[in-house]
Every structure is written in structure tokens, then in C-alpha cells.
């Protein structure tokens, strides 16, 4: 029995030891057992892990060795003997010479006779634990990560701010856009001219109230409709016809300016301009400008000039003719003294007539300044017609005439009446100042580089003296030799021609030599 009892207790002791060993190993706190002489007997795995020593390195060493000098481990040694337990803070020295502040607890063990025979020492808290737990690399990584996170956070904060700002800006610009839109719409709505907007499919997208009024149509009747559909609405038909041209193709012609007579009391100038957004055409704007008043004034002005010219000239011609008859003796003999006075009256009267002629010419200059009626024409045809008119005149004067023209040239967009006036003036001059048996030649060239038409008329006439050449295009200027040759002529032809060509964005120039002849040129942009 005794034997088996002993065997049992041995077995029990063995089991207990195994249990203790497992527990010791498992304990998650760094722990060591120190004997009564303060030598370490054993350490657990946690301690090995945390502080980097192996069990062999620590066992048999004085506990004091692992703590920094001023950790006062002396006190711990005394206290643990006297009090049986100690709690304190100390600085542990790891194997790689790091100092770690720790909290430790020690508890004494006594044998059956209550003699102190050693103590357990537990590191129950590591104050800078992340440093202690992390290997160097990890620490660095964490540092980097932290930095990264901080940067990211800052970025995030910044972008949040930016986003807020953007939202604010967007709100602001939305407001601005809306304000702008409202402003534009109110300008369009209240514009004194009629405005109609077509999109690229030639559908009407907008019509303002003035345009509605002009054509007596309502917005709802016309917007959203294509040109073809609009052509069927009687009130607006006339506009669509001039917009899409005589061929009635359902497309709006390019930029142009045309007159549209709605009634005796309403004449419109219709112009179209492309609406371009970022270099691409997005539609066409049609502007309807009321020119009734202007037209009326223009007509009144012409009438006024013609009437006053008539009214002023009638008595002057009567005076002229009567004096002439008196001088000629048709109305009875006049003596020498009387005749001298009559001659003087005649000259004064002639001067008065000349003044009135100038007055009329000045109003004609004005005509040259403005281009009213732009149409696309063949320039060659235009010149040919003018040649047909002058052909007989040249033949009569026995002047040789030549015309050099290119085969195919682009069309020109010009005010035909005005360009005719220019041609007429140049032909007149060539005819007037070229003597019998002379030569006049006309040429048209297409300057492809500049895309413009160049007209020239060359004569073998009297030419212009060098010292007078710079005044040739000035108003009322007539060269000395021209004056000697013919007293008629206003000195306005070339001035008017220059005005007209420049109003068409063209240029005028000439070459001349006195006694040999002149060449007058002008260019017009082809379009």
C-alpha cells in the first residue's frame, strides 16, 4: 500500500510538474524565477521574445545585471526579503542595448520553515511597448506608414477643402451662367431688332418678340420647325424665301445682307451671321433690322438734292442763256462797255453753276462710302458688260481695245451698282485722256495666293506728272495736263472709286508716266 501510495504521489508530482511547465511556458507576461541570492534560475519564453536574451544567457546571472544602474535594484533585493512582495518601475536593458522602462512586480517564495528561498519577477507592463515589440524594420515601416498616412490625411483634408471650394465655385459659376443666360435672354427679348436663331439642322430654335411682331407670328407656331415647314406659313414665308434663296434648297445661305420689303411702311435689312462656338458653327443668327426710316431719308435726300439742283439750276440756265443772247447781239446791238459787263456777269454765273455742280458731286461721293446691296456675281461678266457699253466710244475715237481674261475664276460678293460706278469712272478716264489711235487694254487676273481678283486698265493716254501722282486719289484733284485737255470733269471719279473699293476691303493703285500712259488697278477679295 505504502508503495503504491508513494508511486501515486510520484505520479501526481510528475503530472503537476508537467502542468507547471506548460503554464510557465504559456504565461503571456515576461517572467523569471530568481533565487535567494538574486541569481536568475529560469526565464519564460515571453521574456526571451521581448528582450532578446536566451534562457542560457540569463540563467545564473545576477538580476541586477539586466537593469540600468539607477534602477535601484538593491532596494528591490532588500524589500523582497523583508516585505515578500515589491512593485516598482525600472529600466530594463535589452540584449541589443536598448533601455526600456518597465513596471515589474516581484513576489517572494518561502519554504516550509518559512525561509525565503527566492522570488518570481514579472514584467507586467512595458511602457514603450511598440518599440519593444517591433523589430527595427517593422518600426521603420510603421514610421513610414504613419508618415504616409499623415500625408494622405493632409491630402485628404486638402482635397476635401478643394472639393468644397470647387463646389462653391461651381455654385458661383452656375449662378453666373444663369445670370448670364438671363441677361442674354432679356437682351434678346428686348432687342430693338428682330432676332431669329436657327440650329445646324436649320430648325428655328429662338425668335424674339420683335421678330414675332414683324411677321405677326407666335413663338409656339414657329419654334422647333424646319425651314421647309416654315416656308408653308404665309406670314413668315417671305423671310424664308430670301434666307434659303431662289432655289428653295432647305439651307440657309452664308453671311449676307438683303433687303426685305414687308409693306410700304416696313422695310427690313436681313442679315445672317454664323454662331461659332469653339471654332465650330452651332447655328445661324438672323437679324432683322428696320431700315424703313433710313430708306425714307435716303429717298428724301436724293429727292431733295435733285429738286434743289433743279430749282437752283433753272434760273441760272435762264440767266446764262439770256446773257449769251445779249452778248451775241441776238437781242439788238450792245456797245463795247455793255458787252464787257455782260461778259463779267456771264463768268460769275458760270462760277455759280460750277458751285452747284460741286454740291451735287459731294452727295454722289457719299454714295460711294456705303455698300448696301451685296450679291454674288461673276466679275468677268460685270467687266464684259461695261466693255460692251464703251466699245462704240473707243471705236469712234479709233482707239484700239483689248481684253485679257482668265478662263475660270471664283465669284465675287459685291455691290454691283457701286462696282459698276468704279468701272465706269476708270473707263471714262481711259477714253477721255487717250488720244486718237491710242490703245486701251483691260485685264483681269486671279491672284490665287491672296485669293483676290485684280483688275487693270492700261492706256496710252496723257499720263500723270510725277509731282502730281500722290494727289491722284484726293477729292476734286485734276492734273494739270487733264485740265488743259478738257475743262469738264469733277475730279471726283478716282476718289469715289477708291472709296468704293476700300469699302469692299480691296485696294487701288496705279502706275503712270506723263505723255506715255497710265495703268489703274484695283483688287477685290474673292468670296
Amino acid at each position: 500500500m505504502e508503495d503504491s501510495k508513494e508511486k501515486n504521489s510520484w505520479q501526481e508530482a510528475g503530472a503537476s510538474e508537467g502542468y507547471l511547465y506548460d503554464f510557465w511556458k504559456f504565461l503571456p507576461l515576461p517572467l523569471c524565477y530568481v533565487n535567494s541570492l538574486h541569481f536568475i534560475l529560469d526565464i519564460n519564453e515571453k521574456l526571451e521574445q521581448v528582450f532578446g536574451y536566451t534562457q542560457v544567457e540569463m540563467a545564473g546571472e545576477d538580476i541586477e545585471k539586466f537593469f540600468q544602474e539607477n534602477s535601484s535594484m538593491e532596494e528591490l533585493k532588500k524589500e523582497i526579503v523583508q516585505k515578500g512582495s515589491v512593485k516598482k518601475e525600472a529600466i530594463f536593458l535589452t540584449k541589443d542595448k536598448k533601455e526600456i522602462l518597465v513596471s515589474l512586480s516581484a513576489i517572494a517564495r518561502r519554504d516550509r520553515q518559512n525561509y525565503f528561498n527566492g522570488y518570481f519577477l514579472v514584467i507586467d507592463r512595458i511602457h514603450k511597448n511598440e518599440e519593444a515589440y517591433s523589430p527595427l524594420e517593422l518600426k521603420e515601416q510603421i514610421k513610414e506608414k504613419t508618415k504616409e498616412l499623415e500625408t494622405k490625411l493632409t491630402e485628404l483634408r486638402n482635397s476635401r477643402l478643394a472639393l468644397l471650394n470647387m463646389l462653391e465655385d461651381a455654385e458661383e459659376s452656375k449662378k453666373q451662367v444663369e445670370e448670364e443666360k438671363e441677361r442674354t435672354l432679356s437682351i434678346v427679348a428686348n432687342f430693338v431688332d428682330g432676332l431669329i436663331n436657327f440650329d445646324m439642322e436649320n430648325k428655328m430654335v429662338l425668335i424674339n418678340s420683335e421678330a414675332e411682331k414683324i411677321f405677326s407670328v407666335k413663338n409656339q407656331e414657329v419654334t422647333g420647325k424646319s425651314i421647309a415647314e416654315l416656308a408653308k406659313i404665309p406670314n413668315i414665308k417671305s423671310l424664308i424665301e430670301i434666307l434659303s434663296g431662289p432655289s428653295k434648297h432647305v439651307k440657309i445661305d452664308e453671311i449676307f445682307k438683303k433687303e426685305l420689303k414687308i409693306s410700304e411702311k416696313l422695310i427690313l435689312e436681313v442679315s445672317t451671321i454664323p454662331i461659332v462656338k469653339e471654332g465650330k458653327q452651332t447655328g445661324t443668327l438672323v437679324i432683322l433690322h428696320d431700315v424703313t426710316r433710313g430708306k425714307l431719308i435716303e429717298k428724301m435726300k436724293t429727292e431733295f438734292v435733285s429738286i434743289s439742283a433743279h430749282q437752283l439750276r433753272t434760273p441760272l440756265s435762264a440767266i446764262k442763256w439770256t446773257i449769251k443772247m445779249l452778248i451775241d447781239g441776238d437781242l439788238g446791238e450792245v456797245n463795247k462797255g455793255q458787252e464787257e459787263f455782260l461778259e463779267k456777269i456771264y463768268v460769275s454765273n458760270e462760277r455759280m453753276i460750277a458751285l452747284i455742280n460741286d454740291l451735287l458731286d459731294v452727295t454722289r461721293i457719299e454714295e460711294g462710302r456705303y455698300i448696301y446691296d451685296l450679291t454674288q456675281v461673276s466679275f468677268i461678266d460685270l467687266v464684259q458688260k461695261m466693255i460692251d457699253l464703251y466699245k462704240n466710244e473707243f471705236e469712234k475715237k479709233e482707239i484700239k481695245f483689248g481684253f485679257k481674261k482668265p478662263r475660270a475664276v471664283p465669284k465675287l460678293t459685291v455691290d454691283v451698282e457701286k462696282i459698276n460706278l468704279v468701272l465706269q469712272n476708270l473707263f471714262d478716264n481711259a477714253l477721255k485722256y487717250t488720244k486718237k489711235d491710242g490703245e486701251v487694254s483691260v485685264a483681269i487676273e486671279h491672284d490665287k495666293k491672296k485669293n483676290e481678283m485684280v483688275f487693270s486698265i492700261k492706256d496710252t493716254g496723257i499720263g500723270i506728272a510725277k509731282d502730281q501722282q500722290d494727289r491722284i486719289y484726293t477729292r476734286f484733284f485734276r492734273s494739270g495736263n487733264a485740265l488743259r485737255m478738257e475743262t469738264e470733269g469733277s475730279g471726283l471719279g478716282l476718289y469715289i472709286a477708291k472709296n468704293i473699293i476700300e469699302a469692299h476691303h480691296g485696294k487701288v493703285w496705279f502706275e503712270s508716266e506723263e505723255g506715255k500712259g497710265s495703268t489703274f488697278n484695283f483688287s477685290l477679295p474673292a468670296k
Binding site: 438734292v305 433743279h310 433753272t314 440756265s317 435762264a318 446764262k320 442763256w321 443772247m325 455742280n357
Partner: protein, 123 residues
């Protein structure tokens, strides 16, 4: 037989001068004060030439020429226009309507008018 000239003109002094000049040259002269009277006179008298002003009351020279062009008989009568204005548009229109000649009063003497008439119908 003396050639017949119809003078259509409203300005008294001009009428006096031209009438005197033309009669001196041996032409037979009849007078009308406006285009309307002129047309009636043309139908009745069948003149050899019409010397006509443009700006006149009732019917002006241009309208008168238009009416003449629409009449088979009157169409053939040569017309010389004597005008005061000389506006290019007016001259253009006068040419279109078939006037044989045109002149601006202030730029001519009565003598020159006589020469133009002689050129058209002889002495």
C-alpha cells in the same frame, strides 16, 4: 416746208429764248407747258422733233417718254431731252427710253442746242 419742233417746257424764260432762237433758224415752233399737253400736241401736230424738259407739272418728261414708247406713231418721233438736274440715274433712264440726245441746260448755250437739233433733223 419748215420742220416742226414741239417744245415741251414749263420755264417761261427758257421758252422765250428757245422759241426766239428756233424761229430765227426757220423752224416752226409749237409750245406745251407740260407732258400731258405735249402728248396731245404730238398727236395733233405730228412734229419732226420734240425738245423736252424733265421736271414739269402734271406729267414729267420721263412719264411722257414712256407714254410715247407705248404709242406706235409717237414712238418714231425723235426726242432731245433738256434737263436741269443731270443726275446719273436720270440720264441712264433717259437713254433707256430712247432719247436721241440729252443735255444739261447749265452746260450748254442755246446755240449748241440748235446744233444738236440740226444734227438730228437738218436745217
Amino acid at each position: 416746208m419748215a420742220k416742226k419742233i414741239l417744245l415741251v417746257e414749263d420755264e417761261e424764260l427758257i421758252i422765250n429764248i428757245l422759241e426766239k432762237k428756233l424761229k430765227e433758224k426757220g423752224y416752226e415752233v409749237s409750245l406745251s407747258r407740260n407732258g400731258k399737253e405735249g402728248l396731245e400736241a404730238m398727236k395733233k401736230e405730228k412734229p419732226d422733233l420734240v425738245l423736252m424738259d424733265i421736271v414739269m407739272p402734271k406729267m414729267n418728261g420721263l412719264e411722257t417718254m414712256e407714254a410715247m414708247n407705248n404709242d406706235q406713231e409717237l414712238k418714231e418721233i425723235p426726242v432731245i431731252v433738256i434737263s436741269n438736274s443731270g443726275e446719273p440715274v436720270e440720264i441712264e433712264r433717259v437713254k433707256e427710253l430712247g432719247a436721241k440726245d440729252w443735255l444739261i441746260k447749265t452746260e450748254f448755250d442755246p446755240q449748241e442746242i440748235i446744233e444738236k437739233i440740226i444734227k438730228q433733223i437738218g436745217e
